[in-house]
Amino acid sequence: MAFLSIDNISKSFGGLSANREITLSIKEHEIVSIIGPNGAGKTTLFNIITGVEPSDSGSVRFAGADITAMATPEIARLGLVRTFQQTKIFRDLTVVEAVMIGHHLHDRTGLLGAFLSNRFAREQRKKKLEIALEILEFIGMADRKDSITQNLPYGEQKLLNIAIALAAKPKLLLMDEPAAGMNPTESMRMMETIRRIKETGITVGLVEHNMRLVMNISERVFVLNYGELIAEGRPEEIRNNQKVVEVYLGRQSRAGA
């Protein structure tokens, strides 16, 4: 049964069509990657799935619910959370504070409880702190908990972005280029992190350019080019797919001639 199913999604910006009748699905507990050259429509697809942008047509279903017209926070409430290509962290806060905000959906403090600073409010805040520390431990940033987020090195900002998303306790985590701009050591660390996220029972969808990472951890790969889905399959199938090779390397005949 498909966990996330995208059915016939199309989106164009003026004359440029970013997504053309894309249909794909992600099963529960798998790691799926969406690859393609720059401008292929990968981020647009993520934006449509997570309610950041509306699609022109088509539908998105997640965990049995139609989320096509839902707003981002409602989609997050269902357990679908994403990270961003342009690393987003809450600036000006400490790392642990930023991750605590990520747990917002599970903080049941009411307005009155907060105003009165009652026991429930204090317990909820304590629980949120514990979970944030747990996640920082998991992602290997426990020693950074009191750093100001914007002072972190780039690689750790990317990890923090994921930590914030994990704090929301997603069932499906969509990551938009988690390893972009990383050096080989950092991207190895990222790959390990993604693998461990999957082991905790979270389904993972990736948009990524780092082929080593994609081919290593994906169970299935979808290839977009100019807004169209041109191939899908296991990593080794994609590697040997003629269309995909053409998109990335150009036509063999021309190259050989």
Partner: protein, 323 residues
């Protein structure tokens, strides 16, 4: 809160209670009451400016709505203060909600301009609804909150010391509620929408809901300040609530240090007492006053209380709040 910190808070609170006894001249007591009301205004505006990260230029208008509502409820409907006060708060918060619907769709400069427009509208309404507000002539004959008996002694709020304690009580509740609001889920959600609305939404924070909540609470608190003011001065006119007042309150927040509760509090005290302290310089006072404001803005981007931050963590980035 540490024992150390709560000790300081308790000591400060006792000092605040003793102030009118130590400074028994009515002039000083008047300044203390004004400072208390300004603290309510600045701290409440601080929720919008500091935590939502939006500049509202209509706080003076909400202050005025609270003042006129409370005064009219007591003069026209003969309601007692204990009813007029909460009703003024609720009505002002309701107005905040109605204005928030269009204004909070905007952000940054556009939001500031929308609130500026609302500020203008309110003053025009007060001036032109002559039958109700007596227009530019102002409302006079506003009753004071009344009097009550304590161990056989009649305590009247027409006297400065009882009114000072009433102001301190309201101010304390405002400070406490604001601290608790900011300290839990809500404050974190406000900050999340300020720092990054897209990221906030992605982890389930509804930016519209929390921005509205902050705006309504903040404006309702301004209504409380307005009610106190009208039953203290016993006369109100549009002059007290015009754009200048809104800018004055915003200045308190920015001078004191936005993004904290202490900042607006310190800013309110400074801006209430400084002009009085500079009075001996005669005509020079406005020059000195302006100069001080400029120096603070240029050299202390985090406001006056930023100095403490600086002492505590000399290595933190200076430009954290500059943007």
């Amino acid at each position: 809160m540490s024992v150390h910190k709560s000790g300081i808070t308790a000591a400060l609170f006792v000092a605040v209670l003793l102030l009118p006894v130590v400074f028994s001249e009515p002039f000083y007591q008047h300044i203390m009451i004004a400072a208390g009301i300004n603290i309510i205004l600045a701290v409440s505006l601080g929720i919008i400016v500091g935590y939502l990260g939006e500049l509202s230029l209509s706080h003076g208008a909400f202050y005025g709505i609270g003042a006129y509502t409370s005064a009219l409820l007591m003069t026209k409907l003969s309601l007692p203060f204990v009813l007029a006060f909460p009703l003024a708060i609720i009505f002002t918060g309701l107005m905040g909600f109605l204005i928030g619907i269009p204004a909070l769709r905007l952000s940054g400069h556009y939001f500031a301009i929308a609130t500026l427009g609302f500020q203008g509208i309110v003053i025009l309404l007060i001036i032109n609804m002559v039958d109700l507000t007596r227009g530019p002539m102002g409302l006079s004959g506003i009753p004071s909150p009344g009097a009550f008996d304590l161990f056989g002694i009649t305590i009247s709020f027409q006297d400065k010391i009882p009114f000072y304690y009433l102001t301190v009580a309201v101010m304390s509740v405002v400070l406490l509620l604001t601290r608790n609001l900011i300290g839990y889920k809500y404050g974190q959600a406000f900050i999340a929408t300020r720092e990054d609305p897209l990221l906030a939404a992605s982890i389930g924070v509804k930016p519209r809901k929390y921005r509205m909540l902050a705006f309504v609470i903040s404006t309702a608190m301004a209504g409380a300040a307005g009610s106190l003011y009208s039953h203290y001065t016993l006369f109100i006119s549009p002059d007290s609530f015009h754009l200048g007042e809104s800018i004055y309150i915003a200045t308190m927040v920015i001078i004191g240090g936005r993004g904290t509760i202490l900042g607006p509090l310190v800013g309110a005290i400074l801006l209430t007492t400084l002009p009085e302290a500079l009075r001996f310089t005669g005509d020079l006072q406005f020059v000195l006053y302006g100069l001080m404001l400029m120096l603070v803005v240029v050299f202390m981007p985090k406001g006056v209380i930023g100095i403490f931050d600086h002492l505590k963590q000399p290595r933190t980035q200076q430009n954290n709040h500059a943007g």
